[in-house]
């Protein structure tokens, strides 16, 4: 069970969340100009990284907001939680096997603060994660 730090609600069990796959996949800017190969890339091809992976999660039984997370797909260590629409933070160096528990920064245990961004994020407060739509669906 992952322990995930929702930016709005604080640490909650993985069972409260839905997985949204790879983050930062933008809808094509000029869809009419895409050929079949490029459409295939957009529709069916996603990174399948072994290591630090930027992915989207939805806190479906809590605040019902989407957010991004940087997680190691081998150790399952959560390295950063950051708002939709903000750039991916730098990946931490690969950690040793350390179990499935989350070690993500947890600065929102009261659950009352507004969008709280992990320390590693480069967000400057311009993003509004509570209204940002998912950037595309993978499943």
């Amino acid at each position: 069970m992952l322990l995930i730090s929702c930016p709005n609600c604080g640490s909650r069990d993985e069972t409260e969340f839905h997985y949204g796959g790879q983050a930062h996949v933008a809808y094509p800017e000029n869809p009419n100009e895409l050929n079949d190969r490029e459409w295939a890339e957009f529709l069916f091809y996603r990174d399948n990284t072994k290591g630090a992976f930027a992915e989207r999660w939805l806190h479906s039984t809590g605040c019902r907001q989407w957010f991004n997370m940087l997680r190691d797909t081998v150790t399952y260590e959560i390295q950063a939680v950051y708002a939709m629409g903000t750039p991916r933070p730098a990946a931490a160096p690969p950690a040793a096997e350390s179990g499935t528990a989350s070690t993500a920064p947890d600065s929102t245990t009261t659950g009352t603060a507004g969008p709280s961004i992990a320390a590693t994020s480069t967000a400057t407060g311009t993003a509004s994660p509570s209204t940002t739509a998912p950037e595309g669906a993978t499943k």
């Binding site: 069916f44 091809y45 992915e55």
Partner: protein, 405 residues
């Protein structure tokens, strides 16, 4: 059931040092890799080949699956390849001279909703048209075939019927791998364990060799059979695959007297159960939702699966979970495999079997060997080419795959 298992075998294959070059190299020494090497040697006379395995032989998904074999898939393309696999399973013990206890005890796929019932009946019809044995059972017939199943109306998802394939069943997965490995070895194939591929040598867009932790091996052809790690290898070779790797968990109970005469799968409540020859109850779940290479998943998936199992089989309430484990399954968005050529010349890929690769082992080996040897797909794997994601000719088997993902 409770059959006497074969004696633990003697060493069945050599452990040679890798040669400096081979006619073909198969990456991945699981069931699919070994079956591919076997058919390359047997059907195509390619015996100067090697199977490279980064760990120990058949220690990945081949050791972690729930050993279910069936062919009741919906679409013509799938029915053709899985039914061919089933027919091979029926003759392989004799051909490989190794009784790996293929037990055709039948497989039931339960229906719990009206939608399930309609989809299942449609699939039975499609199976019959494709020459796959299939029948629809009402709850009473389900109970007759598997008396320990709870068909009462008072559970959350009552059993409304099931599809049944009598020729389906289970086999001893490790013995299957050993059977293929021994025959490969007899035919001259080098099986090289603890040999991890770290890169590929290319001449332009043509692969000419494999870099490993045991040195560089030159080869004319490379076949990838690495399941959950296919994307990692493809990235090394310079192309992408439409694959997502997820943890998939399974578990066994302690040994019990034979109580479960068949195999029961439920797509809707996410559990599938059989009883192994020795007596363990073997159960699998749905995939963990997130991408993962950790060969383990989250415990709530096991809890969910146990809840479903106990509701369907009240007799299991006092059984104990003895051991749980996870494998890494390579899922595609249409729940069908990818077997064919790649954008890199002389490199071929067999992956995307996802949650159901074990049953496909013989057909994967047969068709992939044909593809590698001739450079063109066998008629059975032609529809499963990588290009289907561009043409849109997807083969959607989410209904028949039976494991939610």
């Amino acid at each position: 059931m409770a059959d006497l298992l074969p004696e633990h075998p003697d060493f069945l294959w050599r452990n040679p040092e890798p040669k400096s070059s081979y006619d073909a190299v198969i990456v991945g020494g699981g069931g699919h890799g070994l079956a591919t090497a076997y058919f390359l040697a047997k059907n195509h006379g390619m015996t100067n080949i090697a199977v490279l395995e980064k760990g120990w032989l058949a220690g990945g998904n081949m050791a972690r699956n729930t050993t279910i074999i069936r062919s009741n898939y919906l679409w013509d393309e799938s029915a053709a390849i899985y039914e061919h696999a089933l027919k091979l399973w029926e003759i392989l013990p004799e051909e490989l001279e190794y009784d790996f206890l293929f037990s055709q005890r039948g497989v039931m796929n339960l229906a719990h909703t009206l939608g399930d019932v309609r989809e299942s009946m449609r699939r039975v019809g499609a199976n019959k048209l494709n020459g796959v044995d299939a029948e629809w059972l009402d709850p009473k017939q389900v109970k007759e075939l598997c008396p320990i199943l709870n068909i009462n109306d008072n559970i959350r998802y009552p059993v409304m019927g099931a599809t049944y394939q009598p020729r389906a069943g289970i086999a001893k997965h490790d013995h299957v791998a050993w059977a293929f490995a021994r025959k490969c070895d007899e035919l001259g194939v080098d099986i090289i364990q603890n040999c991890e591929v770290t890169g590929f040598l290319k001449d332009g867009n043509r692969v000419v060799g494999v870099k490993t932790n045991q040195g560089t091996i030159n080869t004319e052809k490379v076949g990838l059979c690495a399941a959950g790690h296919s994307s990692v290898l493809a990235e090394m070779a310079g192309f992408r695959l439409p694959i997502q790797s997820h943890p998939l968990q399974a578990l066994v109970s302690e040994l019990h007297e034979p109580v479960h005469p068949t195999v029961v799968m439920s797509n809707h409540v996410h559990v599938y159960v059989s009883q192994a020859h020795k007596g363990e109850l073997v159960m699998g779940a749905g995939v963990d939702s997130y991408n993962g290479y950790g060969q383990r998943g989250s415990f709530h998936v096991i809890e969910h699966q146990m809840a479903a199992a106990v509701e369907l089989f009240p007799i299991f309430a006092r059984a104990h979970v003895l051991r749980t484990w996870g494998g890494i399954v390579d899922t595609t968005l249409d729940a069908s495999p990818i077997v064919g050529i790649t954008p890199v010349e002389n490199m071929f890929v067999n992956c995307g079997w996802g949650t159901g690769g074990f049953k496909g082992t013989p057909a994967a080996g047969l068709t992939f060997a044909h593809t590698i040897a001739t450079g063109t797909p066998h008629h059975l794997n032609k529809p499963f080419a990588l290009e289907r994601f561009e043409t849109g000719a997807l083969i959607d088997e989410h209904g028949a795959a039976a494991v939610a993902h």
